[in-house]
């Protein structure tokens, strides 16, 4: 009965063609229907039906994302058939769907073994293909001997595939090396180009992971490099040499000649040429002849119309840029032309190259060119340009900038570019320059004034951070400005209602600073000691400030009052509080000013109040080093609890948002207020036995809570970024701390102003230190295999190399084993740490390369 059922089914089974035709007509319901059918069909005993069902399933899985892992067992069944057609389908399905977790993997081992030993070379090749794709540790281990036999097979087809499989096997089961390596190396000497390309391909991959172990094979590779005419082979060999030469400089000298030979050939293929150039740039860049030749060839690439070649040319130049900038400079026009190319890849490469070229002399010129491009390009590229200019100019605390006035005007120009989205970075730099470079403050104030006065900028939300920086700068350095009245007016214009509340608060506060400054000037001008009421320059050595007449002061005061009255009822607490503060202050001094200030008595309340406020604003904020906290000496007799866990619990939710916020002031001011309250609570309610000293500390805190840096709360909660601390403590001003532990670097050249630099040390990148026994075994196995080869060559191995190779391999292995969701930066940092390790390795005892080569 069952068999007749299957007969019926097999006669009427939908073939693959029908499936495809059906799919082309209608999609998802058809898929689910066919899946049902397939599930039924695949469970039947008839192998043909099963195999057709499997074929349909693999089609669906490959192209429509249907999961087919449930059919694993059936795939194994199909593979066991003796018919080639079934085997093919079965192996195909296996290669597609099996992974390391498939439970039926064990069942395949025997089947694979049988097929690998079969006399039919096509069956063997099927099995090899499959093994290459799904090989696991166990499979590799069990089938090593078969692969070994096949490596020596007489049929080229089989041998070739076996070589390909070796790569996977070595990867999973390093002990296989002992068995197979010799045969592998023998194949290097084969004359068949197919075999050769396969072998060389395998070695290329292996050397990518661990170049040192394959150094003794260099002579064979050299022979191939010189003799072979096949482009595929040559490209791979060049790659191998690129890796080997970077750890063995003597090789570089030897290899330079053949590489030049290849480059000079008339009809050399572009791919080979490019590979030669790349090898020269990355590993042979110390050799003059190949380097010059390569640069010439690169020029040809850049002039070509083919966008591929242009892109590759630029890419290659960027490889060589760090060491040999002259090559880039020679091709400057080509690079600039490439900036206006249609292709975004080409444009990006050109941008990177331009950035690499920038130095003190040409920074103005290059920025000019780049800003022109930025105005013309689409938003994405525009922001990239602006971003890269910002990064390049601010590197090493503005190393390359000589003329800060020009740079500040450039920053304001950037702010006016329509597509600009880099508000935060520009804000940061404006404030940074203000605090570090005294001489630029005049220009800074001028620039800020221009930004503040313009009402059109208020609507653009990307510019708000810049505006907040401008407001802060105007307030802080108001002594440099010519017309404080204008600034105050700009800060309080009605259109500022478009700003978010936090920035509004900054505006109001700056207006306050302006007011205090003006009052200070006015009243000091009225001192009996001064001779006239007119021009009086302040003590900060700035440009002359217009003296304030009584009328101008009172109009200033009333203007501010008017502007702030409307705000005293806003919803936002911060804005309201500040407005009320200022209004209160104005209330105190108003009557004095209205009285035409005839009294010369400097002891009046008003005078005292104004003097006090001036004092508050007079402390200058400087940049704080990230190590400043550690440099503060602990007072005598102070005993700190190791981990103030109690504090952690209470303060954690409060301190965390603060640590994350860059320059959002209102969060900070609130958290500071909260902390003050909590602090007092904590101090009063803490029952843990504080020693006398810590209770003294708590008392001190209570009294001077205003003046404490909030991050001093928990001593283990160190500042991660000194600058963060600095700017986050600007509001309210009472929280000023001027730490004396910064050092200013004096530059000798006269025109360049002083930039205050700090000893901020970046944490060195910690290298990952995972150890995996597999890689150790692999490299050790390879090295013993090569040593055991003898052939009259003397080799020396150092144990240290193991550890170093271990790390480099681990990095490579772990990066390969992870899911492929890596970011570019992470990858390049791993590679740079690997290169660093390689350099380290070459510093230790070098391997004796056989004399044949030298």
């Amino acid at each position: 009965m069952a068999s007749s059922n299957s007969l019926m089914d097999s006669l009427f089974q939908r073939s693959l063609e029908d499936l495809i035709k059906g799919l082309r007509l209608g999609e998802s319901t058809f898929i689910s229907k066919s899946l049902e059918e397939i599930r039924r069909e695949i469970k039947l005993t008839d192998l043909s039906t099963k195999s057709v069902a499997l074929q349909k399933l693999s089609y669906l899985a490959a192209l429509h994302g249907v999961d087919m892992t449930w059919a694993a067992f059936h795939a194994v069944e199909v593979v066991s058939s003796s018919r080639f057609a079934h085997k093919r389908i079965g192996y195909h399905a296996i290669a597609q769907s099996f992974s390391d977790q498939t439970p039926v993997l064990l069942l395949i081992t025997n089947q694979l073994r049988k097929d690998l030993n079969s006399s039919n070379e096509y069956e063997v090749s099927l099995a090899l293909e499959c093994l290459a794709r799904i090989g696991t540790d166990d499979l590799a281990r069990d089938l090593t001997s078969e692969v070994f036999t096949l490596l020596g097979s007489s049929k080229a087809l089989v041998r070739k595939k076996a070589i390909g499989v070796v790569l996977r096997v070595f990867d999973k089961y390093p002990d296989a090396v002992k068995v197979c390596f010799k045969r592998l190396v023998e194949n290097l000497e084969s004359s068949d180009p197919q075999l050769l390309s396969a072998v060389v391909g395998v070695f290329c991959e292996l050397t990518a992971k661990d170049p040192r172990s394959y150094l003794p094979l260099a002579p064979e590779f050299y022979k191939i490099l010189v003799d072979s005419r096949n482009n595929w082979v040559l490209i791979k060999v060049l790659k191998i040499f690129a890796k080997l030469a970077s750890i063995e400089p003597r090789l570089a000298k030897k290899v330079a000649d053949p590489v030049c030979e290849h480059m000079r050939k008339q009809n050399v293929g572009k791919s080979l040429l490019f590979e030669c150039i790349r090898t020269v740039f990355s590993s042979l860049s110390d050799q003059e002849v190949p380097l010059k030749l390569a640069v010439v060839k690169i020029r040809e690439f850049l002039m070509d119309d083919d966008p591929n070649l242009k892109y590759l040319g630029l890419h290659a130049l960027s490889i060589v840029a760090p060491k040999h900038l002259w090559a880039v400079l020679e091709n400057k026009e080509a690079v600039v032309k490439a900036m206006s190319d249609e292709d975004p890849n080409v444009k990006r490469e050109a941008l990177h190259l331009l950035m690499a070229m920038v130095n003190e002399d040409n920074v103005t010129e290059i920025s000019r060119i780049l800003m022109n491009y930025a105005l013309k390009s689409d938003p994405l590229f525009c922001n990239e340009i602006i971003g890269s200019i910002l990064v390049a100019c601010s590197r090493d605390s503005y190393e390359i900038i000589v003329d800060f006035d020009w740079y500040l005007s450039l920053l304001s120009e950037m702010a006016r570019v329509p597509n600009c989205q880099r508000g935060k970075e520009i804000e940061h730099q404006l404030i940074d320059i203000g605090t570090r470079v005294k001489d630029a403050r005049l220009e800074l104030v001028r620039v800020s004034r221009a930004l503040l006065i313009d009402p059109a900028l208020l609507g653009n939300q990307y510019l708000h951070p810049i505006l907040s920086a401008a407001a802060w700068a105007s307030g802080e350095y108001v002594e440099f400005s010519k017309a404080p009245y204008e600034i105050a007016e700009a800060l309080l214009q009605p259109r500022t209602c478009l700003l978010p509340h936090s920035i509004r608060a900054i505006y109001i506060h700056s207006a306050f600073k302006v007011l205090v400054f003006s009052l200070g000037v006015y009243f000091s001008a009225q001192e009996p000691t001064s001779s006239s009421l007119v021009q009086e320059s302040t003590s900060s050595g700035s440009s002359a400030v217009n003296g304030f007449t009584c009328d101008s002061i009172s109009s200033l005061v009333s203007m501010i009052e008017l502007g702030l009255c409307s705000l005293s009822g806003t919803i936002d607490v911060e804005v309201q509080e500040r407005a009320k503060n200022i209004l209160g202050f104005i209330g105190i001094i108003k009557h004095e000013i209205a009285e035409k200030a005839t009294s010369q008595d400097s002891e009046t309340e008003v005078h005292r109040a104004i003097a006090f406020m001036e004092d508050v604003f007079s402390e200058e904020l400087g940049p704080v080093s990230s190590t400043a906290q550690e440099k503060v000496p602990l007072p005598e007799g102070l005993e700190l609890n190791e981990n103030l866990e109690g504090l952690q619990e209470i303060c954690r939710e409060v301190l965390e948002p603060m640590a994350e916020s860059d320059y959002s002031s209102d969060k900070v001011s609130f958290s500071v207020a909260k902390l003050r309250i909590r602090d007092q609570e904590e101090a009063s309610s803490s029952s843990s036995p504080p020693l006398e000293s810590s209770s003294l500390l708590a008392e001190h805190r209570k009294r001077h809570g205003l003046y404490y840096l909030s991050s001093q709360k928990s001593d283990d909660h160190k500042d991660r970024d000194g600058n963060d601390n600095n700017t986050s403590n600007e509001y309210p001003p009472a929280n000023e701390i001027s730490v004396d532990s910064f050092k200013s670097k004096k530059k000798l050249s006269k025109p360049r102003p002083v930039v205050v630099k700090l000893d901020e040390g970046d944490e060195p990148k910690t290298k990952p230190d995972a150890s995996s026994s597999n890689d150790e075994r692999l490299s050790r196995a390879i090295q013993t295999a090569l040593m055991g080869k003898g052939k009259g060559k003397e080799k020396e191995r150092v144990k240290e190399n193991h550890e170093i190779n271990l790390d480099t391999e681990n990095i490579e292995q772990s990066s390969r084993r992870e899911k492929k969701k890596k970011k570019n930066g992470e990858r390049s940092s791993k590679r740079s740490s690997r290169r660093q390790k390689d350099k380290e390795a070459s510093v230790t005892k070098p391997v004796e390369v056989p004399d044949l080569l030298l």
Binding site: S3, L7, L16, E17, I20, R24, D46, S58, Y59, A61, L63, H64, G65, T69, R83, F84, H86, R88, I89, A95, Q96, S99, Y122, E129, A132, R133, K160, V165, R168, P193, Q194, S197, G201, C204, E205, A208, N230, W232, I235, K239, K270, S271, F274, E275, R278, D306, P307, N308, Y311, L312, E342, D343, N345, V346, K819, K820, K822, K823, N824, R827
Partner: protein, 160 residues
């Protein structure tokens, strides 16, 4: 090494996928979606290389089909372009003026040819003649098997 091969039509339909690195089914569909978006949006005169997630993807357009191969950052892109061309030429020779329909209805044959061409993500056979010879030999074996299956004696043997 080559991480995967992807054939996408101009309308975004996937015609062939071959993966040489471990990707789960969900990841595969995500990758396909992302990459199709990037590549199908590129203009005709732009260069054939795209940087994507730290890897490079080399693609070439033949008629209405995009052939994409994802490689490591350090591999030679021009070489991979040649590999793609090599594959297309072999397909052409095998099907005789191959068109997209051929690939749709004989997708498994396209897979087998690709298997002869690339193994473990590396090129294994750079001669077109050899590949053609191997594939035709395999086809003959399949044909022989089919004939045998179609014979009456076999069907009778099955049912009893």
């Amino acid at each position: 090494m080559i991480h995967f091969v992807l054939l996408v039509s101009r309308q975004g339909k996937v015609r062939l996928t071959k993966w040489y690195s471990p990707y789960t089914q969900k990841e595969r569909s995500k990758v396909i979606r992302e990459l199709s978006g990037v590549i199908l949006n590129r203009g005709p005169k732009l260069c054939n290389f795209v940087e994507w997630r730290g890897y490079k993807v080399v693609y070439k357009r033949y008629a209405s089909l995009y052939f994409c191969m994802c490689i490591d950052a350090e591999d030679n892109e021009l070489e991979v372009l040649e590999i793609i061309h090599h594959y297309v030429e072999i397909l052409d020779r095998y099907f005789g003026s191959v068109c997209e329909l051929d690939l749709i209805f004989h997708f498994h044959k396209a897979y087998y040819i690709l298997d002869e061409l690339l193994i473990a993500g590396e090129l294994q056979e750079s001669s077109k003649k050899t590949v053609a010879r191997i594939i035709s030999a395999q086809d003959q074996m399949v044909e022989a098997a089919k004939e045998e299956a179609g014979s009456i004696s076999y069907i009778i043997a099955q049912t009893t």
